[in-house]
């Protein structure tokens, strides 16, 4: 029983995806039913696993070439897995329920739920993987399900582009990931986590190699968790339907990088250089993304940059050695960020696909339940004391305080900025008066959408408390969450950052939305703060475009020309022409029928026979 549950969790969404693809794609109701049953089954089984709290491992071979190469599909259940299982199936279930309403009138509803099931299968595969190769397999599969869901509205040019961008950017990260797997395997001879841990001395014997391998593996996380410099795909991924943004691009898939780093922390730990790089990448991502978030106007994009920033914080946490704290933040973040995205979805749904916060306003009154839950999510994210985010963020800051002051400073500044941009979002969208007709007719959504919001709001409050979290993490793992010694100054500083950021935004934006000019002319943004560098995301997209155009495209264009005109045109034709003139034999070919060719072939055979009989 214990060892069949993980298989049930993994395979029920796969069965749903296959059944929808093969049989149910014409019936929306049946597709929804299949997808929902699968996710509820997975949730139930995950809850059972958490309750039993026993570690198991079952494995079947995938490629078996004897001693030359053995790769397996193995399901490992330990405390870390159980936390992730609960996050993925828990948020997954709520998003499935929410989507039944959100996507009710979509003509591609069956396709959507099929892809959602495929995603659940792939994501659970990452969570359950007992080895690097299997993790890579499902790593790529979440990539493709993310591709399908971002591009759900495929006739929209921007959606199709965003889907491609996400897949390609992730592929670059995966290139590093696979290189890392090969490096580890060539030294240790296995890709299984347990086997690598046993033979770790083979890796630590060569510190430079270890650092290289660790950083290569980290590349995978940089792609999937959208860290600098591969962060560019995540904001564009908001082209997908909002439930997808909540589940995949906020709560689960993008957090897979952090989970992977926690899983392989024992490989990273011996290399101070690798950890240093990871901390730096995380801290820079956290800070830069928060700066970009302060100047966005699209409600989903603000949340997307916020996700980038929070993921950066988690990665930085890994870099300062606090993988337990990072997992804790992953856990709480999943709830409040999913809540915020689903809340923004409710707003977008009610306002007929309006995403610009400047064209909203006054939603506090027209959508009270949405406002209440969104506010709880915001406070949990910004670090209001006694809500979930405060505890988990503080755990990372505390570890950084002990390990690296620059990372701590970046984290603190990020917290301040987070409070600032989230308060800006809430004030502009929910306070004041409605600035458009759509906003004026805002309304709370049906129960199928509001109930998931309420559940997530409750979780965003309680997830940070030791009693609740410890029940899910288990004693041993939870011990790693608060490994660092408490310092009184850290929570005080964190609290000041929260207060300063929130107050700052309130003071700047609350009067601004009362400005009659904003009210009259909602189509012109009246942001009192204008920083083009942040609004344009440090021009990184533009720089990449220029880089790709200047390198890959130019090289491809040149080689295409070279291949056609020089290699094929001059060289091949040249050699051909020389031979042409030189030999009688080839004249036969020139005559233009197959006799010459047949003659040649026959002559060859005769020569062969002559030689052999000689």
């Amino acid at each position: 029983m214990e060892s069949t549950l993980p298989w049930l969790i993994l395979l029920s969404p796969l069965a749903s995806a296959l059944l929808i693809l093969l049989f149910a794609h014409r019936s929306k109701a049946l597709s929804v039913l299949l997808s929902l049953s699968a996710v509820f089954l997975a949730l139930g089984a995950s809850l059972l696993l958490v309750k039993n709290a026993t570690d198991t491992l079952t494995s079947i071979p995938w490629i078996d070439l004897g001693p030359a190469l053995k790769l397996g599909i193995g399901l490992k259940v330990d405390a870390l897995t159980r936390v992730m299982l609960l996050v993925v199936t828990g948020v997954g279930t709520l998003v499935h329920v929410y989507s039944t309403i959100y996507m009710a009138d979509d003509e591609g509803k069956s396709r959507f739920f099929g892809a959602l099931s495929l995603f659940m299968f792939s994501m659970l595969g990452i969570v359950l993987a007992d080895n690097l190769a299997m993790m890579f397999i499902f790593w790529e599969l979440v990539g493709v399900s993310s591709f399908l869901l971002i591009g759900h509205w495929f006739t929209k040019e921007s959606a199709a582009k965003a889907a491609n961008k996400a897949f390609l950017t992730n592929r670059i990260g995966d290139f590093g990931f696979m290189s890392g797997i090969l490096l580890v395997w060539s030294t240790v001879g296995t890709v299984e986590f347990a086997g690598i841990q046993e033979n770790l001395t083979k890796l630590t014997a060569n510190p430079t190699f270890l650092t290289l391998a660790g950083l290569c593996l980290f590349c995978g996380a940089v792609g999937k968790s959208a860290q600098m410099p591969l962060h560019v795909w995540l904001p564009d991924a908001m082209e997908g339907p909002t439930p997808v943004s909540a589940l995949i691009h906020a709560a689960t898939m993008v957090a897979a990088g952090v989970y992977m780093l926690a899983r392989i922390f024992f490989i990273l730990e011996p290399s101070a250089t690798a950890l240093g790089v990871i901390a730096a990448v995380g801290a820079i991502t956290a800070l830069m993304a928060a700066l970009m978030a302060t100047q966005q106007n699209d409600i989903k994009r603000i949340l997307a940059y916020s996700t980038l920033s929070q993921l950066g914080l988690m990665v930085a946490g890994i870099g300062v050695g606090a993988w337990g704290a990072s997992m804790f933040h992953l856990f709480t973040h999943a709830f409040f960020k999913a809540l915020l995205f689903l809340g923004s979805g409710a707003v977008i749904h009610a306002l007929h696909h309006e995403q610009d916060i400047w064209k909203m306003g006054g939603l506090r009154k027209t959508m009270p339940k949405t406002f209440l839950t969104f506010a709880i999510g915001t406070l949990a994210l910004t670090g209001m004391p006694f809500l979930a985010g405060f505890f988990s963020k503080e755990a990372i800051l505390l570890a950084a305080w002990h390990k690296s002051l620059p990372v701590f400073a970046a984290g603190l500044l990020t917290s301040l900025l987070t409070a600032f941009y989230m308060t800006r979002l809430v004030v502009v969208a929910f306070f004041g008066h409605a600035r458009t007709d759509a906003a004026n007719h805002g309304h709370d959504c049906p129960a199928g959408m509001t109930v998931p919001l309420l559940i997530l709001a409750v979780l965003s409050v309680i997830a940070g408390y030791a009693g609740f979290a410890e029940a899910i993490f288990g004693k041993e793992l939870f011990h790693h969450v608060h490994a660092a010694a408490p310092v009184a100054l850290v929570p005080i500083l964190a609290l000041s950052a929260f207060v300063l950021g929130t107050l700052g935004a309130w003071i700047l934006y609350h009067p601004a939305i009362k400005d009659p000019a904003v009210f009259k002319d909602a189509y012109r943004i009246k942001d009192p703060v204008r920083i083009p560098l942040f609004a344009n995301k440090f021009y990184i997209d533009e720089i990449y475009h220029a880089l790709i155009a200047g390198t890959q495209e130019m090289l491809a264009g040149f080689l295409g020309w070279f291949d056609h005109f020089i290699l094929d045109g001059v060289i091949v034709r040249g050699i051909c022409a020389i031979t042409w003139g030189a030999g009688y034999t080839l004249r036969l070919l020139q005559f233009g029928n197959l006799q010459g060719y047949a003659f040649f072939f026959g002559a060859g055979v005769v020569v062969l026979l002559y030689i052999l009989t000689k």
């Binding site: 190469l69 040019e157 199709a160 390609l168 090969l182 009989t613």
Partner: protein, 493 residues
């Protein structure tokens, strides 16, 4: 039994040439071929290495050990399965012709027969001759029924592959000459045993190695001998492009595994240019396929050329597996021959269907096709994702083995570097495939694409057969490897 397998397409083709029958006969022949291949597949004993179902005549000429002799081992069986599957798909994509339809259909079956014969042959002479037999109708069909610059393309491929065949012939002669007179034979099984006994001194292996690698290399479009491929496939009628790129091209790779690896293993390690060994040179050439041709593929603006070049690029990965000279890499290479054959055939089937509907395959003129032809869209997506190495498809399982082969114990540092560079090709291939998929199937539907009708009827099954088999191979590679492993272990001994 094996001769029957060979006779099915030959007899049907002969009947068609003589004016009997129609297209249904071609379809029946292909299905019969598949059924018989499956019967062989399930009756074959995977546990044993070496040839099974052997049939051979007495020597055809006095004094020479040359016989009509057929037999299959795990490797040839996998290739036969590939041939049968692609043949079924190809006959369902035969074009509608006003006249000479029987000539066309029969020639297509002859290509399949030639490939079948080459993979069945247990005799070196027939191995070579059947491949040549398959090339003749290929040239003919491109020249007579092709599109675009068909005459030029037909001549180019004729001359280029003709030269390749001659170099190959010279290599085969050289190989036999290197053996002592008493042990010269055409029997592949006997030859393999001679190879295992290291009959040829290392220094003497280099010349035949070069001749064979270049000869086979031209047939496989190894860089820099690749420029015939894309224009030929773009001009070729759909079933011809499917059969040649999917099946016939694998003959050269099959030959590399059958002859070069068991016979000339020491040549790989011989320095041939400064400190560079023959293996290093091969690695450089295959990196040309992966990186150079990969970038050339990105620059293509037409779907058929893009698929043609991408097919050339993927030959690099198969060569990478071969050049690893170990079981992991070689198993990957052989499974990839199978997987690549299925995926490229599916891609050409879809692109041919689009050419029938639109007339042009320029990316600028296409868009949003998934709206009107969702089935073609799904098949293209599956084949495209398979070919760029998405897990779940056999191509990924194969490429994984190839990469692990490049990092296996005993791999040189040059080999490891080449493997990492080849890994970057996975990004390159994603760039051009996704770009093509988006240009054709996603985005705003073009005015003409909204009027298209989707693939219908039994052709759906014929096409779906290819990606579904790829899924089977991707999820259960172990099943296919159980056929390959004993044969490949013997080839590496």
């Amino acid at each position: 039994m094996l001769t029957t397998l060979l006779l099915i397409p030959i007899v049907t083709a002969a009947a068609l040439f003589l004016g009997f029958g129609n297209r249904t006969w071609a379809k029946g022949s292909a299905l019969l071929q598949l059924a018989l291949t499956l019967a062989l597949w399930f009756r074959y004993d995977q546990a044993k290495a070496g040839y099974q179902f052997i049939f051979e005549t007495n020597p055809l000429f006095p004094g020479v050990d040359l016989r009509y002799s057929v037999g299959v081992d795990g490797l040839s069986l996998v290739m036969l399965l590939l041939t049968a599957l692609v043949t079924v798909a190809a006959v369902w994509f035969l074009p509608q012709l006003e006249k000479r339809a029987n000539l066309f259909d029969g020639s297509v079956l002859l290509i399949s027969a030639g490939a079948t014969g080459a993979f069945l042959a247990k005799d070196l002479f027939f191995f070579y001759a059947f491949h040549e037999l398959a090339l003749v109708p290929t040239f003919l069909l491109i020249g007579l029924f092709g599109s675009g610059e068909r005459q030029a393309a037909a001549w180019k491929i004729t001359i280029y592959l003709g030269v390749g065949s001659i170099v190959l012939l010279a290599g085969l002669v050289d190989l036999l000459m290197a053996l002592p007179v008493s042990s010269r034979t055409f029997d592949l099984q006997a030859l393999q045993q001679l190879g295992a006994a290291h009959m040829i001194p290392a220094a003497a292996q280099i010349r035949p190695w070069f001749l064979l690698t270049i000869g086979f290399g031209i047939l496989i479009s190894l860089f820099p001998f690749h420029s015939w491929a894309a224009p030929a496939y773009a001009s070729a009628p759909t079933p011809v492009a499917m059969l040649h790129s999917g099946v016939l091209k694998k003959f050269g790779l099959y030959g590399m595994v059958r002859l070069v690896l068991p016979f000339l293993p020491d040549a790989f390690h011989q320095p041939v240019w400064g400190n560079y060994t023959a293996q290093d040179l091969l690695l450089l050439a295959l990196l040309g396929n992966i990186l150079y041709v990969g970038l050339v593929t990105i620059s293509q603006r037409k779907l058929d050329f893009m698929i043609g070049y991408s097919s050339v690029m993927h030959m690099g990965y198969i060569f990478l597996g071969l050049a690893s000279l170990n079981l992991a890499g070689l198993s990957g290479a052989c499974l990839l021959m199978f997987a690549h054959g299925l995926s490229v055939a599916a891609l050409f089937a879809v692109s041919g269907s689009l050419r029938d509907r639109e007339g042009s395959l320029n990316f600028d003129k296409l868009g949003g096709a998934s709206k009107s032809v969702p089935f073609l869209g799904i098949c293209f997506a599956m084949a495209a994702f398979a070919s760029i190495g998405l897990p779940g498809f056999a191509n990924f399982a194969s490429e994984t083995m190839v990469f692990f082969g490049g990092f296996s114990p005993g791999a040189t540092s040059f080999q490891k570097t080449a493997t990492i560079l080849a890994l970057w090709g996975v990004v390159i291939s994603a760039v051009y495939m996704l770009r093509a998929y988006k240009a054709v199937f996603l985005g705003q539907p073009t005015a003409s694409s909204t009027k298209w009708t989707d693939l219908a009827g039994s052709a759906r099954f014929a096409l779906a057969l290819l990606p579904l088999t790829l899924l089977l191979g991707g999820v259960f590679p172990r099943y296919f490897l159980s056929y390959l492993k004993p044969t490949l272990e013997a080839a590496l001994r």
